[in-house]
Symmetry: C2
Subunit: 153 residues, 2 copies
Amino acid sequence: MSGMPRASPRSLPPPEDHAARFTQQREADRSAIAEDYVELIADLLQEEGEARAVDIARRMGVAQATVAATVARLQRDGLVETKPYRGLFLTPAGQAVASAARARHELVVRFLLAVGLDPETAEADAEGLEHHASEKALAAFARFLAKHEADPK
Amino acid sequence: MSGMPRASPRSLPPPEDHAARFTQQREADRSAIAEDYVELIADLLQEEGEARAVDIARRMGVAQATVAATVARLQRDGLVETKPYRGLFLTPAGQAVASAARARHELVVRFLLAVGLDPETAEADAEGLEHHASEKALAAFARFLAKHEADPK
DNA sequence: ACTATAATTTAGCAGACACTAAGTTTTGGA
DNA sequence: TCCAAAACTTAGTGTCTGCTAAATTATAGT
Ligand SMILES: [Mn+2]
Ligand SMILES: [Mn+2]
Ligand SMILES: [Mn+2]
Ligand SMILES: [Mn+2]
């Protein structure tokens, strides 16, 4: 006989290695919100001259109270400062996180575009994907872009 | 004059569109755990013949109590069934989620490998990336693989 | 100057996911 | 058959991220 569906060689990794992957993923999830807020604050400061909590709320699609609570955590963690009724600002640490986040975001978007995604989807997907691409993955994306931009197609 | 640093064209999208991206991301995050559990249960059933809560805990890197609570939610959502001291099983709905998750997982891994990532990093990153790639992105990955596999380099 | 409006904060609540520490229950080997 | 070990459940906590509703507070237009 032969037709037995061997069901793809899905051999499971050693439990510890397997767990490490999920642990890494949980860590990425934890920092994702901080990165997005800080990146958005940097963008607003640059584009609008100020980053108001209302605008963060509108652009993040959450209630103002949610922004207040999240910003309090960012402040506690030394990433953000607030001047009442004058908007949000980034600490040096916050600026560092913001520029790293922005660089990653832009790299991921460029990569997705290079692979054939339309601009809007590239932006939308990048918002999530950026938090889960390791340094190695980002390096691979960059290599691909370099090669691709040199010799398209 | 001219030398004014235009500071990269970071033009912000319309607030509503911007919010939609984050909302989409939050939705993906919410389903990620369910997908990972169900995918793992399917794998264990296939590879080991049974999917015990202890093994899920070990492989997910969490406490048994956490698995119990999460499985309760999956059960509530109609994805999983449990036979006490006999392990976990998937409902038809759960099996559907599992095979979709598996297909996506494998596609993402193959794609990352094709882009030059080493196997271990590809697997690790895929665990997070898979939950944030839209259908369009997956289609683009598949196209890339088809082309790449036909004419490598 | 006043005051309506907008921005922000506070309070109270809820659900998802983690954890530790204690029970229970089942199983399987002696 | 018995019982210790393994598996599973329950109880009690804590944090994060959301929400609504109800204050506050500041700004800006008249
Ligand atoms: Mn993001
Ligand atoms: Mn981003
Ligand atoms: Mn995953
Ligand atoms: Mn997976």
